[in-house]
């Protein structure tokens, strides 16, 4: 079962949480590129090991494990399909590890970075304020709309709606009495939110100021340099320029 709370940022005070979102994203992106470029089992294992540092430093191991648990099905699927087509256990495992690296490195970013910081990075990159705010609002209202959806499902069930019976098409059809009220509720909320924003002087300035500040600190430079060096070394290894001694 996909549980949204395992993928949601929770405020904590750790080295990783304090890092600038841009440097964290840079790290996650390089990991992604490397994991896609190589298929070497040992190299992927080494990369997987590296992805563990930010997880441990950021104290998000529990959430990451739960997230991996909810993607076990996909991991198994990747393994089985690749094994059937290649009959090579090592290759199938390597692909599973590649997928794990992708999950873990992006979780290290998304679980330790608040949406405010992400939005602020976009704003600093000169994205328009409206776009940045839309991003924050979309994220902010996920739990609220989720709660609305649960309420509507409960209300419709108490009126006799069957959501668990029948084949797939029938089930989707049964969900119409949920979708329509949810849409209406969402639109009504959006109008109220717009009204409340007007009342908080939205639109008074084209370039509003920011309460929080993004600052490149020593840790960010360290992460930037470390991931760049790692990237260069691994890239060199992939291209056959150097040989790293791995067991």
């Amino acid at each position: 079962m996909l549980r949204p709370e395992n993928f949601i940022y929770r405020p904590k005070d750790t080295v990783i949480h304090r890092l600038d979102p841009r440097s964290k994203f840079y790290y996650a992106f390089l990991m992604l590129v490397l994991a896609i470029l190589t298929i070497d089992f040992n190299l992927l294992l080494l990369l997987l090991l590296f992805t563990l540092f930010p997880i441990l430093l950021g104290k998000i191991l529990k959430q990451v494990l739960k997230a991996i648990q909810s993607s076990l099905f996909f991991l198994a699927l990747i393994f089985i399909i690749n094994f059937i087509f290649s009959l090579n256990v090592i290759l199938a495992l390597a692909l599973v590890i590649r997928f794990l690296i992708l999950i873990i490195s992006f979780l290290a970013f998304s679980l330790t970075t608040s949406i405010d910081d992400i939005a602020l990075s976009f704003y600093k990159l000169r994205f328009p304020y409206d776009f940045v705010l839309a991003l924050t609002l979309a994220y902010r209202f996920i739990p609220t709309l989720f709660k609305d959806a649960v309420n509507i499902v409960d209300a419709q069930r108490s009126r006799g709606l069957e959501t668990q019976k029948g084949n797939l098409i029938k089930r989707v059809k049964n969900f119409m009495p949920v979708i329509i009220p949810l849409l209406v509720v969402a639109i009504r909320r959006a109008l109220n939110v717009a009204e409340a924003m007007e009342s908080r002087c939205f639109g008074a300035s084209k370039r509003p100021t920011n309460y929080y500040e993004l600052k490149i600190k020593f840790g960010d430079i360290l992460l930037f340099v470390a991931s760049t060096i790692l990237f260069i070394i691994v890239l060199a290894e992939i291209l056959g320029l150097v040989k790293i001694a791995i067991v």
């Binding site: 405020p11 009204e195 908080r200 002087c201 920011n210």
Partner: protein, 284 residues
């Protein structure tokens, strides 16, 4: 006391409706007033608050007649944000008015929009949090607070812009009695200690009459009666205006009628007991 808001012959009809939600409304509100706005649902309370805040006619379109003047500014001739800075509006559902991921950021939201420099903004946010005793909520996520806490944060977020008037549209209707009372205490503090003028639309008169100095009763877009809280309660039974009679003043009136006494109009239990004692002592 000087006049802060002046509404003259205001009528408003929303687009796509065939009746006037406000019908020739005249009202003056002074600096420092705590005005209680009541009336049955759909009587025009919300529309009146929107008209003072500038949402009408800027955000809601419709047929607009008359004038609303606040601090020498005619509302219909200014942008919403220019008026919202002076008259902040707090809504019924707190969840729809909290947009950010921490309470301090929420309080700063209006200030960000007004492009206030960061140092100044930090000073105002700190002061707001200190004055309104929200220190324990500072880093929490607004979406996950209790209803009462959310409503307090919503009020703080408006107060941070240092408005002259705080308009509240049924702020207590989603709250349990305990949190409702703590929200009322906060509103009262803003009025009494910080000099904010309050205009609150609410059905629960019992809780609010001890704090208000004026009552305005509306129905079908018109103001039926308006005046000083005690004199209104003395002169009228509010039931006739489709408004629930507040219990304590009604109790005094009933006892007076049955036992032929003259207990003074009282707004709280303590006041009632005192006045009752006085009346009995006078009689004996």
């Amino acid at each position: 006391m000087s006049e802060l808001i002046s509404i003259e012959n205001l009528s408003f009809r929303y687009v796509d409706t065939d009746f006037y939600s406000l019908n020739n409304v005249n009202l003056k509100i002074n600096k420092g007033d705590f005005v209680l706005l009541c009336g049955p649902s759909g009587c025009g309370k919300t529309t009146l608050l929107r008209a003072i805040n500038g949402l009408i006619p800027n955000y809601y379109q419709g047929e607009y007649k008359g004038k609303v003047i606040i601090e020498n500014k005619e509302v219909s001739k200014h942008k919403t944000y220019e008026i919202a800075k002076i008259a902040g509006l707090v809504f019924q559902d707190p969840e729809n008015q909290l947009f950010t991921s921490s309470v301090e950021k929420e309080i700063a939201f209006g200030l960000e929009n007004l492009a206030i420099p960061r140092d100044e903004m930090r000073r105002i946010v700190n002061e707001t949090i200190r004055v309104l005793n929200l220190e324990n909520l500072r880093y929490k996520v607004p979406a996950f607070l209790s209803g009462g806490e959310q409503q307090k944060v919503a009020i703080a977020a408006i107060y941070a812009m240092r408005p002259k008037v705080l308009l509240l549209d049924e702020p207590l209707s989603n709250l349990d009695p305990y949190s409702a009372i703590s929200v009322i205490e906060l509103i009262y503090k803003l009025n009494k200690e910080l000099g904010l003028t309050i205009l609150i639309a609410e059905h629960r008169l019992d809780w609010l009459i001890p704090f208000s100095n004026r009552i305005v009763i509306m129905n079908e877009g018109r103001i039926l009666i308006e005046g000083e809280t005690r004199s209104i309660l003395e002169k009228f039974d509010l039931e006739q205006f489709d408004v629930n009679d507040p219990k304590i003043p009604t109790l005094a009136k009933r006892i007076n009628k049955i036992f032929n006494l003259r207990i003074k109009i009282s707004l709280t239990v303590d006041e009632f007991v005192d006045n009752f004692k006085k009346e009995l002592n006078d009689r004996i």
